[in-house]
């Protein structure tokens, strides 16, 4: 089986600012994988998300979805991709049009409002049936992310790309949303690409992880392996820098 998504030598340069957001990135995503991408600011992970979704064009390299090239294709010709790959964005408020009702937002990928589908999706993400009538500002951050997820699931995609989906949420809500994502990925047999700066979160949700730094992938492998036996110095640095409660408490116990 050939990979679902193939990325080869992908580059994205912004001529005006002379910034090299991506400097030649290559990897494959197999169907059913939970592929994590970890990176800090400036790593190029957000640029990568846009390129995978056909919302931006690379300056070099290729992105292939089910054998079809996405790069170099005009946006209006990407309908085939839109029904197969959907994104859950980071900002729960910014990714929902404040002037649209929830049911219109959820059905946006479908092109028309389908109340039956809205009801199905609201149920799948754990929102009350009357949520469709309301506006985004009437919901909490966690609930808005559920709406975002419902929208992403509307066209029954094969791939869900989650771009920092829980970074803007409270700690106590993150677990719920992560569990929801994991559950939905299982239930609908989706492939997931999960982008985050937070190592811990990626570890919880993914089976494979690519570590990015300054536009390049510095390490790629099974999650447990990368975390337990990091090969690259940067990966080790990331793991070491992550604030650890256990370490902090240990220090408090033996003050020196």
């Amino acid at each position: 089986m050939s990979p679902l998504i193939e990325v080869r030598d992908l580059e994205r340069r912004y001529a005006r600012r002379n910034v090299h957001a991506l400097r030649g990135v290559s990897f494959d995503v197999e169907a059913g994988q939970r592929f994590g991408i970890v990176g800090e600011s400036g790593s190029g992970k957000s640029t990568l998300v846009r390129l995978l979704a056909g919302l931006d064009q690379p300056t070099a390299g290729s992105v292939t979805f089910r054998g079809r090239r996405i790069d170099g294709v005009a946006e209006r010709k990407l309908k085939f991709l839109r029904s197969e790959l959907q994104i859950v964005f980071q900002d729960p408020m910014g990714s929902l049009d404040p002037r649209m009702r929830v049911r219109e937002i959820i059905c946006e990928p479908l092109g028309r409002v389908d109340r039956g589908r809205v009801a199905e999706l609201l149920d799948a993400v754990g929102l009350p049936a009357d949520a469709g009538e309301r506006y985004p500002h009437q919901f909490s951050g966690g609930q808005r992310q559920r709406i975002s997820i419902a929208r992403a699931l509307a066209p029954r995609p094969a791939v869900l790309v989650a771009d920092e989906p829980v970074s803007a949420l409270d700690v106590s809500v993150r677990r719920q949303i992560l569990d929801l994502l994991a559950d939905l990925v299982d239930r609908f047999e989706l492939t997931m690409v999960f982008v985050s700066h937070d190592l811990g979160v990626v570890r919880q949700v993914c089976d494979t992880v690519a570590v990015m730094r300054r536009g390049e992938i510095v390490e790629l492998g099974a999650v447990d392996q990368v975390y337990d036996q990091p090969q690259h110095a940067y990966t080790r640095e990331l793991i070491a820098a992550a604030p650890s409660l256990q370490a902090a408490l240990a220090k408090l116990r033996s003050p020196n």
């Binding site: 946006e75 649209m100 946006e108 500002h137 929208r151």
Partner: protein, 275 residues
């Protein structure tokens, strides 16, 4: 909540003021206390009396009647000029905001050309070709106001286009024209409403200047603006002749501004009453 009451007050006061202007204009079609254009030297420059509520002007014409008929001109000019500007300027601005850089810049530079062209000159040109009237003045002012709408529409569009929900719309497969209609327009409507109330004020005052120069409402048809200009020479002797139309203009402008603010808030679902 305090803000909600304040908002409701705005809408009500605005609506009342605008309503008064509209009422005066409508009623003037059927009745005015006196004939507004009838000259009567015998009753020149009278102060307010029972018969002439606001007195008379230097030609003996009843000020109150002029105010009522003048309300029509104010409404025509304000509404038509702003209407033209909005209908032409908004799509232009949205187009400029959604196009690639070069097209967007090109449209805005053409916009700047129009902006630089004095409305006055435009009105004179129209007047020369079609014969000066309220209509030529309105159209000229309308065209001259297009750039303000185009600019604000464009800047609002740029902001909306950079949001994540537009990104989500694109990734949902929405076409650009569709995005303009479903996402951009509703989200810049607030800006446009406020711009409309500002432009209304400017239009009314522009008409005043044009009328004075003879390129707007021709005498003897009453116009608040012209009344204001005509009162200048008697300002020290009969300030009332300036105050009455001046206050009328001020109240009309205030009314539209308040109404505009209130409407903008009413249409923002974020400020709507929670059920």
């Amino acid at each position: 909540m305090q803000t909600r009451t304040r908002r409701n007050t705005s809408v009500i006061v605005g609506a009342v003021l605008v309503g008064l202007v509209v009422l005066a204009a409508l009623v003037s079609f059927f009745w005015t206390p006196h004939d507004p254009v009838k000259v009567n030297a015998a009753v020149r420059l009278l102060g307010p009396t029972g018969d002439h509520v606001f007195g008379t002007d230097k030609f003996g014409r009843d000020v109150a009647s002029q105010i009522m008929v003048g309300a029509r001109t104010t409404l025509y000019v304000g509404v038509v000029a702003v209407g033209i500007a909005a209908v032409i300027g908004t799509p232009l601005g949205i187009l400029a905001g959604m196009s690639n850089r070069w097209l967007g810049e090109f449209v805005m530079r053409v916009n700047d050309l129009v902006l630089a062209f004095p409305a006055l000159l435009l009105a004179i040109m129209f007047g020369a070709v079609y014969g000066a009237s309220t209509l030529t003045a309105m159209v000229a002012i309308g065209i001259a106001t297009v750039p303000s709408f185009a600019r604000i529409a464009r800047s609002g569009t740029l902001q909306v286009m950079s949001t994540e929900y537009v990104l989500a719309a694109r990734s949902s497969g929405r076409s650009r024209p569709n995005i303009a209609l479903r996402h951009v327009l509703p989200n810049i409507s607030g800006l446009l409403i406020v711009q409309a109330s500002v432009s209304f004020a400017i239009a009314v005052l522009a008409e005043a200047a044009l009328s004075f120069l003879g390129f707007g409402t021709r005498p003897p048809t009453p116009s608040w603006g012209r009344m204001l200009q005509e009162s200048q020479e008697l300002l020290t002797v009969q300030p009332r002749l300036a105050l009455v139309p001046g206050i009328a203009i001020a109240l009309a402008v205030l009314g539209f501004n308040l109404l505009g603010d209130g409407l903008r808030d009413r249409f923002d679902p974020r400020l709507a009453v929670r059920k």
